[in-house]
């Protein structure tokens, strides 16, 4: 199930906690802060690199077909400081990701927060800032 919800409060809170340093390219030039998005899907790949990492997820589309989305993250060090590691991601794991949609309409998102569904089910710490 794909959810598209507005998360202004979450985004505002995360923005305040994740700092304002963007490397290489501008966040605002690529992503629309007025277009918040929440995606629920399964992890297919994670590239943990500077200056920004990428999380690839498969999201069931409205007509049932699989859609691949790419979520741009902040720098790995920034995510690590907030308790998130590359090894926390398992291919096939279900995640919910909130962020800002790409201005060009592509299936690309500037990720702000990731929630690991299995951890949430177990009552463990499940949500982490992606630092983008």
């Amino acid at each position: 199930m794909r959810m598209r919800t507005t998360l202004p409060a979450v985004m505002a809170a995360l923005f305040l906690t994740t700092g304002t340093a963007w490397a290489h390219h501008s966040l605002i030039s690529q992503y629309a802060k007025e277009k918040t998005v929440s995606l629920r899907g399964t992890v297919t790949r994670v590239v943990w690199k500077n200056p920004h990492g990428w999380i690839y997820i498969d999201v069931p589309g409205e007509s049932g077909q699989r859609e691949q989305w790419m979520i741009e993250t902040g720098a790995p060090l920034r995510m690590q400081r907030r308790g998130l590691k590359a090894t926390d991601f398992k291919v096939g794991a279900e995640v919910i990701i909130g962020g800002w949609a790409a201005r060009d309409g592509s299936k690309t998102v500037a990720g702000w927060i990731v929630t690991f569904v299995d951890r949430e089910t177990k009552g463990q710490e499940a949500s982490f800032a992606l630092g983008r």
């Binding site: 923005f15 700092g19 304002t20 340093a21 963007w22 490397a23 290489h24 390219h25 501008s26 966040l27 605002i28 030039s29 802060k33 992890v43 790949r45 994670v46 590239v47 943990w48 690199k49 500077n50 200056p51 720098a75 790995p76 060090l77 590359a86 090894t87 991601f89 398992k90 291919v91 096939g92």
Partner: protein
């Protein structure tokens, strides 16, 4: 014999001085390009080469920590590190003040760590240098960003 040893020593010292002078001081010739052009054409591509070589890839095959392996790959890392160090000197040549110079030198210093890692084929050092590079990037971008690319808080 002593004369030869002295000459070799002198040559080595001169070589070292020439090799580092462009990085520890402001570049002798000012690049006419803007900071944005330097970033787009030189700095970002050079940094990306190094960043990509030490990326961690999580796939169905597991977690793979990438690293340069062949001579050609290490040479590419070294070339990018040198380009980045030179770019730091070029940024200093823009003459924007001591604080800006300090940030530019930080990038150069991090790039020189990467160059040394390449010279010794040391992956751990390269990872440390890569972290230093990213810190230099972020430290500078917190202060400086093109006006046409304003950040959400208007900086």
């Amino acid at each position: 014999m002593k004369t030869w040893i002295c000459l070799i020593g002198l040559a080595a010292s001169l070589g070292a001085a020439v090799a580092t002078s462009g990085w520890t001081a402001v570049a002798q010739t000012r690049d006419p390009r803007t900071v944005k052009e330097l970033m787009k054409e030189d700095i970002a591509p050079a940094a990306d080469v190094i960043f990509n070589y030490v990326a961690i890839d999580v796939t169905l095959a597991g977690v793979v920590e990438n690293a340069p392996k062949t001579d050609a790959e290490w040479a590419e890392v070294r070339k990018s590190a040198v380009a980045l160090a030179d770019s730091g000197a070029q940024l200093k040549a823009q003459g924007r003040g001591r604080e800006y110079d300090k940030l530019a030198q930080e990038m150069t210093d991090a790039a020189l760590l990467a160059r040394r890692a390449a010279d010794t084929r040391n992956v751990s050092r390269l990872r440390a240098a890569e972290q230093a590079m990213n810190a230099a990037c972020e430290n500078c971008h917190q202060k400086y960003w093109p006006r046409s690319d304003q950040q959400p808080n208007g900086r």
